[in-house]
């Protein structure tokens, strides 16, 4: 039921942007010193059923490598329109990617999960490197990724 309400809120946000409640959120991803090339990172959101909702950022500009971000790629079919206008440079070892974004309020405490897929050339792909629920209570808490992400957190 909650999910249906959230969906309704989001749909409303699309059709009547003025009513969309949103908050500025900062997503901070710090990579470990994994000793390789710049990492490609896909940040995206799924709903309570695990269905893909949308992408927040793509770090890494060569779309031919996007299939290494395999969970993202499977969810989107590699549709580049999903990251149109929200693509930037890859992120090297030890560096921090800071993304400032206005996120719809309806995304919080409604079963949505933020994922990060990571891939480094000639190193192992890491789909779902990070997967964190989007909640009020989770803001400001750093989590470690599986392989390349030393810490990720969202602040608002």
């Amino acid at each position: 039921m909650r999910s249906a309400l959230a969906t309704l809120a989001l749909t409303t946000a699309l059709t009547m942007p003025g009513l969309a409640e949103a908050r500025p959120v900062t997503l901070t991803t710090t990579l470990s010193d994994y000793g390789g090339d710049g990492a490609y990172l896909a940040l995206y959101v799924t709903d309570a059923e695990g269905a893909y909702v949308g992408s927040l950022w793509m770090a890494g500009g060569k779309s031919k490598y996007y299939d290494h971000l395999s969970a993202w790629h499977r969810a989107t079919g590699g549709d580049l329109a999903q990251v149109d206008g929200i693509t930037g440079a890859s992120v090297g070892p030890g560096r921090t990617l800071e993304i400032s974004v206005d996120l719809a309020d309806a995304l919080f405490d409604a079963g949505y999960t933020l994922h990060i897929d990571a891939a480094v050339e000639d190193m192992r792909d890491s789909p779902n490197e990070v997967a964190v629920p989007l909640t009020q209570g989770g803001a400001g808490t750093a989590v470690a990724g599986r392989r390349y992400v030393a810490s990720f957190r969202y602040d608002m």
Binding site: L10, T11, A13, L14, P17, A20, E21, A22, R23, L31, D37, G38, A39, V45, V53, G54, S55, L56, W57, A59, G60, G61, K62, K64, D67, H68, S70, A71, H73, R74, A81, Q82, V83, D84, G85, I86, T87, G88, A89, S90, V91, G92, P93, G94, R95, T96, L97, E98, I99, S100, V101, D102, L103, A104, D105, L107, E121, R124, D125, P127
Partner: protein
């Protein structure tokens, strides 16, 4: 007996083996050439010389030879070459896009300029409250 069967099954699952994980990858660029048919590195060097390329390194990627170097105009290139026929399958120029390419260059995510969203509007994907594009920075 059952324990043995379970253990055998577990052993058969390649734990962490890269081979099993394909995740729907695009293999159009791969080479599938038996080792016996591979020409030696020297042949690849000769190919590069014939094309006027300066070779920084020759590596193997996705089953193909890959020449990393600069072309006759001094542009950085990566040329993917069939290891048996020495046909050039693909050439990527390092200035093809604003972004990273491969090693040797200053791409340890070198704090590049703030990622401009570009001319395209951000996707209408229900996530962005006001529709303003996300801003990103690498520190």
């Amino acid at each position: 007996m059952k324990t043995l069967a379970v253990l055998a099954l577990l052993a058969a699952i390649p734990a962490g083996a890269a081979v099993a994980d394909d995740h729907g990858r695009n293999h159009d660029d791969d080479c599938l050439v038996p080792m016996a048919d591979w020409q030696p590195r020297e042949a690849v060097e000769r190919l590069a010389a014939a094309n006027g390329w300066a070779v920084r390194r020759i590596k193997v990627d996705d089953g193909c030879y890959e020449i990393v170097g600069t072309d006759a105009d001094g542009r950085g290139i990566e040329a993917k070459v069939d290891p048996a026929t020495l046909a050039v399958i693909e050439i990527e120029h390092e200035d093809d896009d604003e972004d990273d390419d491969h090693r040797g260059r200053d791409d340890r995510g070198a704090g590049r300029a703030p990622a401009a969203p570009g001319p395209a509007a951000p996707p209408r994907n229900q996530l962005l409250g006001t529709g303003a594009p996300p801003q990103a920075r690498v520190n």
